[in-house]
């Protein structure tokens, strides 16, 4: 989870329970689509990640609907369109390191999910 940054405004998007473990949802923040994932691991409520919902390889806004998991050390989401993988921590496309998407801060306060964008 990112620490508070000066230039980031935090937005409350939903309750923790609205994101089922090991799935994602999409939040609309100031017109920007942001995919938020909840990685269950073993502890509750788990770890949260936020990246662009836009998949630059297909041009569709779909990443929140991708399957998440790990490839080696990297935590990734697989785009549902052409199965490109994006690193949840860095936004880098695994298949094409020249392509990268934005990542955002994500944190949980009092059972609510907050995104820094």
């Amino acid at each position: 989870m990112d620490g508070d940054r000066m230039d980031v405004a935090w937005h409350e998007v939903c309750g923790v329970d609205e994101i089922w473990p090991d799935t994602g949802i999409c939040a609309l923040i100031d017109g920007r689509q942001i995919a938020v994932f909840r990685l269950s691991a073993s502890e509750t409520p788990g770890e949260f990640f936020a990246i662009d919902n836009h998949d630059p390889m297909s041009g569709a806004n779909v990443l929140s609907r991708g399957l998440i998991g790990n490839l080696g050390e990297r935590l990734v989401v697989a785009s549902p369109i052409y199965k490109h993988h994006y690193d949840l921590r860095t936004g880098e496309c695994v298949e094409d390191p020249n392509v990268s998407i934005h990542t955002f801060g994500a944190r949980v306060r009092d059972g609510r999910v907050w995104i820094g964008a």
Partner: protein, 851 residues
């Protein structure tokens, strides 16, 4: 050089292939048949669903070569050796520098009065097979005259057409050339067990009108046999008439005399294949014919191409054969009859399992001279190598054919023992060294090796040996063959299925904890979800399962390129009432969806966003529709024709059967999608032979075809069983589907699965029809569980508030996805192109922006 080749059979075509793209060579090919070369070795597969195109041996584009002029339907009528010309039946005169006769042979028909009656056939060309098929459809009884290799192939064809089948043989036993008396006895019993009546020592004296059937055959011993059709397969005779007419020298019993370079008496004329007589012998197998073709090609190339190697010689050929006749293994090696002076024989017979094996060795027992194997020919490859390479036999050669005490046979020879020069594939002359070189160069699969070396691509008899060489060589090179699903599970899909089924594992966390590592990924999660569904059939969108589903299953709809979804309600068998049709139209109109009729006789509604899906399905479910599972790797559709209810040709109610089948298997999840079709007669309007499971009505019931595919790599389905009643049909489909689900790889369609199945169609038939693994009841019970626990996923989803909450485009807003933009085309919506999206604020009219 002007080369004329007469004949474009298997051997004639091999010559053209062997000549390659040689410059300085202009080739004219006269082909009497209406189509170029096809695979006569596998001709009987025409009756189990293969088409003439499937059997073709011609690589796409082969005859586009401007230096090859193929004349189809062109018969050579005469030769003029002094002018060096060939005259065709149409009167055209073609000049040659070199001429190759690859005219093949014709089937011998004994001079029996009545042999030319209607319903009498020979078995050689595709046209013969087409005529047999037409006649077979109106016949109940069929007789094959001749119990040799080809005759038994032909008997299989008659049996596959559903005829009561007889084989009539003049000799005292079947396959008298290849098999000795003991082997012939076991072979006969096995063939008879398969429902074919065998009559040996029968000399047909005439064929007259029958009483119950079309014909009556009278035999010299006074007995008679009634039949509707007769196929003569009593041996072949060389087509040597051109050579005879031009004094080229033919043998006393026919055949064009050739020398070691396959030249006739005229050095500018060659003869190859079944028309050629070398050292007083005709070679009726494809491998020697191919060898002759290569010899002639080398001779011609050495004349036109300075860089070509020296001309090769034909020095006779090994006539060993291995084949599967109606599922019965039969093999014959070298001196099968023990005619070599002083030879010694070892014989093993198991009359209960119907296995016969014989070895013929040299007097001192050190060299293998010949062998006969009936009922089990697993040792063929290694025994053949021992015979061909003169490998010294072990002290007690009998152990090479005796089962060991645990019931398995010890294969006497590892491939490691073979010399590098050992010829593994005799049809295409591929040595062990060539295979090993190809493996070293990176071919690590049987398919790749076949493509690259051509080994095992003609008769296929050496495929097990090629596989052994492959495995041994990979091991030697230090490759480990890894079939693990992904980095999280060190198992293949089949192994994972077994672990889940036997371990009673019902969720991913447990699976990962017990058998895997890491978090999982987009490979193993959907695979596990699919196996859970195949085994336990629980709702796919529960909290512990939803996270495993691919996006399509996750939203029970098909994702499209712009992130919108399409919706396909089930229309079982393609049958729909006007009222339901209207509902689909109304829903499409209300939600602004693009509609298209699918290939599976359904209607696909495109352009819905995630948050619209529950409302759309609410209306569809209320009107009585169910999920069509178009989104799942699952049973999709059962296409059907209208069948006997309406059609004047239909013989069974194909729509009724389609409904029965679709409602039984709907939603069944599998390694890949599964498509069915049911046709009401042999006209096959539902195109069932292009489906994973195809059912075609017959007068007596249903024929079941399996493992067909349209799509990227079309494959005709193969006939698994004939004339089934409804209950047996369903039982076989139950077993077939569950066996596929149990053993296929991830995302492997039934067609590819079948191509990779060791033992092929015969094995599949043994498992499904004969229940050889004793799995039948288990597979049926597994299917019963899935059928009994079926629920419409959409009905369940729209009645579950927890699930419904997930169907939101944004968790914190009711807005639409602004990236989903449509424009109008031909009166409907379609996704806007990027360029159209760019100019959306200019002059293009956006008809529906995420309504």
């Amino acid at each position: 050089m002007k080369l004329v080749v007469i004949g474009n059979g298997m051997v004639g075509h091999k010559l053209l292939e062997s000549l390659g793209a040689a410059e300085n060579l202009q080739v004219t090919v006269l082909c009497e048949e209406p189509r170029p070369a096809y695979d006569r070795v596998h001709l009987s597969e025409f009756f189990s669903g293969k088409s003439a195109d499937d059997l073709s041996l011609v690589e796409p584009g082969f005859f586009d070569n401007p230096r090859i002029d193929l004349r189809l339907g062109a018969q050579a009528a005469s030769l003029d050796r002094s002018l060096k010309t060939v005259t065709t039946a149409d009167g055209e005169v073609i000049a040659y520098d070199k001429l190759v006769l690859a005219t093949g042979s014709y089937p011998f028909v004994p001079p029996i009065p009545g042999k030319d009656r209607d319903g009498c056939f020979v078995y050689r060309r595709i046209e013969d097979l087409e005529a047999m098929t037409a006649c077979g459809a109106q016949s109940k009884v069929g007789v094959v005259v001749g119990g040799g290799l080809l005759g038994l192939e032909c008997a299989k064809a008659l049996r596959d057409m559903g005829l009561t089948t007889h084989v009539v043989e003049f000799a005292p036993r079947l396959m008298a050339v290849q098999v000795d008396e003991g082997g012939g006895r076991v072979l006969r019993r096995k063939i008879e067990d398969l429902g074919v009546s065998v009559h040996t020592e029968k000399n047909t004296v005439e064929i007259v009108d029958g009483e119950q059937c079309r014909h009556r055959m009278r035999f010299a011993d006074g007995s008679e046999l009634e039949t509707d059709m007769i196929v003569f397969s009593a041996g072949i005779r060389p087509r040597d008439e051109l050579a005879r007419a031009s004094d080229l020298g033919v043998g006393p019993r026919g055949g064009i005399v050739v020398d070691n370079r396959c030249r006739t008496l005229d050095p500018d004329i060659y003869a190859i294949g079944e028309c050629a007589l070398w050292d007083g012998r005709i070679f009726g197998l494809v491998a020697p014919g191919y060898e002759m073709a290569r010899v002639v090609a080398s001779d011609i190339l050495s004349a036109v191409d300075a860089t070509a190697g020296p001309a090769a010689e034909f020095l006779g050929a090994d006539m060993s054969t291995k084949l599967k006749l109606m599922g019965v293994d039969v093999a014959s090696i070298g001196d099968a009859h023990g005619r070599t002076e002083g030879s010694r024989a070892f014989i093993y017979t198991d009359e209960r399992k119907q296995i016969y094996k014989k070895l013929v060795t040299s007097e001192d027992g050190k060299l293998l001279l010949g062998a006969v194997l009936v009922g089990d020919a697993n040792e063929y490859g290694s025994l053949l190598q021992m015979a061909l390479n003169h490998i010294e036999l072990p002290e007690s050669p009998e152990f090479l054919i005796l089962p060991s005490s645990d019931g398995t046979v010890t294969t006497g020879l590892g491939v490691d023992a073979l010399p590098a020069s050992a010829q593994i594939c005799s049809c295409n002359n591929v040595s062990k060294l060539q295979l090993c070189e190809a493996i070293g160069a990176g071919e690590t699969t049987l398919g790749g090796l076949k493509k690259c070396t051509k080994a095992a691509t003609t008769c296929g008899g050496c495929a097990p040996l090629v596989t052994q060489v492959l495995k041994a060589e990979l091991k030697r090179l230090g490759h480990s063959v890894n079939n693990h699903l992904c980095e999280h599970f060190p198992y293949s899909r089949q192994e994972l299925y077994h672990l889940i089924r036997v371990g009673g594992i019902r969720n991913f966390d447990e699976l990962l904890a017990k058998h895997g590592s890491g978090l999982g990924c987009d490979i193993c999660k959907p695979t596990a979800a699919s196996i859970f569904a195949s085994c336990w059939n629980e709702f796919v969108l529960t909290r512990d399962k939803a996270a495993l589903q691919d996006s399509n299953d996750y939203y029970l709809a098909n994702i499209q390129k712009n992130g919108s979804y399409s919706v396909v309600p089930r229309i079982a068998g393609g049958e729909i009432t006007p009222d339901k049709l209207i509902v689909i139209g109304q829903v499409a109109k209300k939600y602004g969806l693009y509609t298209k009729i699918t290939g599976g006789q359904r209607i696909d509604l495109f352009g819905a966003q995630v948050h619209q899906l529950p409302a759309i399905w609410g209306e569809l479910v209320a009107a009585g529709f169910e999920s069509g599972h178009a989104y799942g790797k699952a049973v999709r559709t059962v296409k059907s024709c209208v069948g006997s209810t309406w059609c004047r040709y239909g013989v069974q109610d194909s729509v009724g059967m389609a409904l029965l089948v679709e409602n039984r298997y709907k939603g069944l999840r599998a390694p890949h999608k599964i498509k069915f079709a049911v046709s009401g007669c042999t006209r096959e309007c539902a195109e069932a032979q292009s489906k994973d499971v195809g059912v075609i009505a017959t007068e007596k019931g249903w024929n079941l075809y399996v493992c067909g595919n349209g799509g990227m790599k079309p494959r005709h389905a193969e006939l698994l069983a004939s004339d089934l009643d409804d209950a047996t049909l369903i039982r076989y489909i139950d077993r077939f589907l569950m066996f596929y689900i149990r053993t296929a790889d991830r995302l492997q369609r039934t067609s590819v699965w079948r191509d990779n199945l060791e033992g092929g169609l015969d094995y599949l038939r043994q498992v499904i029809v004969d229940d050889s693994l004793g799995l039948g009841a288990e597979l049926e019970a597994e299917m019963r569980h899935v059928v009994d626990t079926y629920e419409c996923e959409w009905k369940k989803a729209i009645n579950d508030p927890d699930t419904l909450k997930r169907f939101r485009t944004f968790v914190n807003s009711d807005a639409d996805d602004s990236g989903v933009v449509f424009v109008e085309e031909r009166g409907q919506i379609r996704p806007a192109t990027d360029a159209e999206k760019q100019t959306r604020f200019k002059d293009i009219e956006i008809v529906a922006e995420a309504t």
